[in-house]
Symmetry: C2
Subunit: 352 residues, 2 copies
Amino acid sequence: MDQRVKKKATIYDLSVLSGSSPSTVSAVLNGTWRKRRIKESTAQTILGLAELHQYTTNLQARGLRRSRSGLVGLMLPVHDNRYFSSMAQTFEGHVRSRGQCPVVVSASRDPEEERRTAETLISYSIDQLFIVGATDPDGVHEVCELAGLRHINIDLPGTKAHSVISDNYQGARMLTEAIIRRFGNDDPLRPDELFLFGGRNDHASRERIAAFHATKKALLGADPDDGVQSSGYSPDITLRAFEAFYQCRGKLPRALFINSSINMEGLLRFMAGRPAEMFSELVVGCYDYDPFGSFLPFPVIMVRQNVEAMITKAFELIDEPPTAPHTFLIAPELIQPRSALKGPLDTLKDIA
Amino acid sequence: MDQRVKKKATIYDLSVLSGSSPSTVSAVLNGTWRKRRIKESTAQTILGLAELHQYTTNLQARGLRRSRSGLVGLMLPVHDNRYFSSMAQTFEGHVRSRGQCPVVVSASRDPEEERRTAETLISYSIDQLFIVGATDPDGVHEVCELAGLRHINIDLPGTKAHSVISDNYQGARMLTEAIIRRFGNDDPLRPDELFLFGGRNDHASRERIAAFHATKKALLGADPDDGVQSSGYSPDITLRAFEAFYQCRGKLPRALFINSSINMEGLLRFMAGRPAEMFSELVVGCYDYDPFGSFLPFPVIMVRQNVEAMITKAFELIDEPPTAPHTFLIAPELIQPRSALKGPLDTLKDIA
DNA sequence: AGTTTCTGCACCATCGATTGTGCAAGCGAA
DNA sequence: TTCGCTTGCACAATCGATGGTGCAGAAACT
């Protein structure tokens, strides 16, 4: 009875021990026993035995029978980033509070990997899939659709399922404006002194770049065409973009719009080894919030996407009866330099 | 045939279509068909049909039968932190390269939650569990042991299973030394000017604190008893510790040893709203690495734990036949201020 | 021709839980 | 006493894949 590594108890074991049938045991243990008119005392007996023998449901068996698993998937581009990891943290909280089990995986922004990952999750009969920042949301949709899996896009929109995304245009507008206004009237920013680094050809980048251009034009009167240096979502490519810029012009712009914290890491790589004074006059706007990024030696204005609101909205939508795909915008928030905001961790129990 | 949301094809469907038995189909699809002496041509037929009908294995069914799932679990304290999220990123790479599916979940440093989480994962018949930074590793061990689940501790050691952890003592020694040496001989640091913030009563904190004391004593000749302000792993408690300290002494210490990046966020919260000049002379050592943290306006010396080495070692150990529990130390690395290091993301394909 | 050895596959029990259905015993009413 | 209803549960099919075993027919050998 107390041997190490004993087999786990099953409903059949409890059935023998209790003298009831497996189906009765099953009903008692999964809570449907009142509906099946099982006597209270029978239920108590079985529950007692279950406790005693440390019974736990084999969720694979249940999943096989019910053809759902109780697993809820979150597919991220990458883990190693405060934006996405706070997404994971928030997501977990929601899933847990629904009594399900979160499964967080990353797919490296690779369309092929994204589809494979979705397929794997489907093979485990996950109940729902939240697709965050996918490079090819519609490709993933295809896979989910075939399997009849409820899914929703977050952060980057698709055309075939609901999407909940940051209001990138407004966010970028606010950010560009804040960067420009940061310079006083005595020495105002010139249009050719503000550059955008990062981004690629995705919806978020396009919106941000459009807002960047429009706001520059509106506030600075002009907007030279070369104001944007695409460099994907890679620190190293961004580093090279900065190096190329620097080589070419002999200096950095006075002000930068950086498309994401990942690109911001490219700026850090550029800064490493160069004198701090080189950057003392710099003003940076970054479309993402990172508490440490907010305290760099130069002013960094950041945009915090409202992760909590996005996840909440996504959970609402995913449960609703399906309608024509729609994209929901969630307003992000402008964060002044030197701000240390609370995050999902702050809701955890504090233990000193 | 092309209806939306058709049921997924099973081996039975393919069995009918191909005229072979389900077991033959199964063998062909899971690759054991040569061992079962299935004719090449039969196999090809079935593979062709599988392709045609987009067959994918129902992994819950397989898992039920084989009583393993192909899932490998990683249990983190929290997601929203560069140390743990880089752990997740690295872990994923390893699991994927073994053809299994990573499942990353967090358990909030709550012993109860840790055990529940382990139990849930066990109910899904995960194959292995990597337990990172658990508050009660031995409690989790108990649960795993009962289920015969292979598991290993990372970051915080347990006494009942192998552990792979950072060499906290050496790391803290290096860090303390680097902080002290940062001050020149003309205005050397006094013992009562260096304080440690953060940490609680766990193995890592104890080791670090011990090394902190020892190194202070060795290099500064003395070590007043009140040099340590425990504040758990919570930004807010750390904030309050700084506020209390400041209230009491009217200033911050000249030098700080901060126990983790989470505690470091407490310092950020303290900085927010206070003038930057207040911190211009500060020297900080932080036991954790965060690229943005490395570029704060004052020198921040960081310790980077070798996540890749830890995970690699853990994978080696978890596959080995079990022996008496042993703790393996992995040397961390001292990172000079203003360093932007490569991380797990840099191994991904760069797409501009 | 008779016997042994391969080939190539089918059969069937099994993993553990779920759920539609059936049915006996008990009870009240007619 | 008989009919009908309720109570309390057991039976058995099912989810999809796996793998041990057995067996017919062909090939090889004596």
